[in-house]
Symmetry: C2
Subunit: 216 residues, 2 copies
DNA sequence: AATTGCATGTAACAGGTTACATGATTGC
DNA sequence: GCAATCATGTAACCTGTTACATGCAATT
């Protein structure tokens, strides 16, 4: 449902074609909720079938057409209802922390490699989000500008404040991940120095005698 | 693939039945990678078909049976290979930050409600993970104990250190989310005090004239 | 005439969620 | 005799991913 509401959030500020929407998406909400075009177009069709948006074919050149969508009252209500409803949290499913918990099973080099690329991964995200923060401050993001133009001035402060707030949260998270991974790198060094030979440990449970051993 | 490797990680320390595995799972790796039983049983079958684990039927009482799985050499290698391979990061998809970015569209009360339950949500996770940290320190977690018993003593330090490391990362994250949401609550208060009447803003784009207005 | 950007998808598959379904055994 | 817990799934559905597919329009 989040993709649907992300799309509604964009369309609520004014009509857009699927293509425009998809472009705007990738440079705004897409930083928070990724979705490929191949998911956006069908979702728009479903939303239209559900009566949340209405699309109008527009001619383009000789033969070309494009479909411009605008939210209906039902769509507007659906978005506002979602905003007021309790958020559904998905269960934790974190591959990096999963792997981190078993780093003793691999070589120090593989452990370092993992932690280094974790730093890199989050540094990439961090840059995205910090860039977005700068664009918010400079009021230099097409969607944000559209939004401000479409709303009464007394709401501008709030609109900007909450955008900032959202991206600040993401920036915090990225920084946290980077710090954590750096601590991990230090830990690997420490463990390699302190304890004896660090040999990757192979499961003891292979072969039939293992299951024998553990039978009740 | 992460579920598969989470299961391998547990089975590598010694054979377990599907049921035992599922129980152990929910109090160990399950804190990092959630999976319901209905996913675990079929996954075990698939893993067996792929030759990563082997299951042996054991009789239980008169008619009952249970299937005890142990990892094969191929499974052990698959796990170790995964540990050495680059981790695949999934694209950002964060409903809470998505909603946060549009908090100006709802009432201050709904905004507060969302932020309060965000705090609660992460406080719940935080307790889980802090509890797990305490159990690691007290060496009081059945899976961890099994693991230590199954490994040579010179690896114990590393094993414990990385478990701590993983959970510390999760604890940090939870604390970060809580702080962020609390800042959000303060922000709502601030905005409510500073700016004029805070009225939820309804999309301007409903109705046919709206699309008229925006046509190129 | 060729490239870039506009414009819109489909198909197959993987992974995860929810609800449902069933029965045996052990301890009280 | 009954409850808890051991034990194992299936089916339908939703969401998302990857790869593929197509063609027009505007610009150089």
């Amino acid at each position: 449902m989040s993709l649907r509401n992300a799309l509604l959030a964009l369309l609520r500020v004014g009509p857009l074609s699927g293509y425009e929407l998809q472009k705007q998406f990738s440079v705004s909400v897409g930083h928070v909720w990724h979705a490929p075009d191949s998911q956006i177009y069908p979702e728009l069709r479903k939303m239209e079938a559900a009566g949340l948006i209405r699309g109008e074919e527009q001619v383009r050149g000789e033969r070309g057409t494009r479909r411009v969508y605008h939210v209906t009252e039902a769509g507007d209500r659906a978005f506002l209802d979602w905003m007021e409803s309790p958020l559904e949290y998905s269960r934790v499913r974190d591959p990096a922390h999963l792997r981190a918990a078993y780093l003793e099973t691999t070589t120090p080099e593989a452990a370092r490699e993992f932690l280094r690329s974790h730093v890199e991964q989050w540094q990439g995200e961090l840059e995205q989000w910090e860039g977005e923060l700068r664009r918010i401050d400079a009021v230099d993001n097409p969607m944000l500008v559209r939004r401000l133009v479409a709303t009464p001035p007394e709401q501008h402060e709030r609109t900007i404040a909450f955008k900032r707030f959202a991206y600040e949260g993401l920036v915090d998270r990225a920084r946290g991940e980077i710090e954590w991974a750096r601590r991990g790198l230090a830990l690997v060094d420490e463990l390699e120095a302190s304890s004896g030979a660090w040999t990757a440990w192979t499961a003891i449970s292979s072969g039939p005698e293992a299951s024998e051993r553990a039978a009740p």
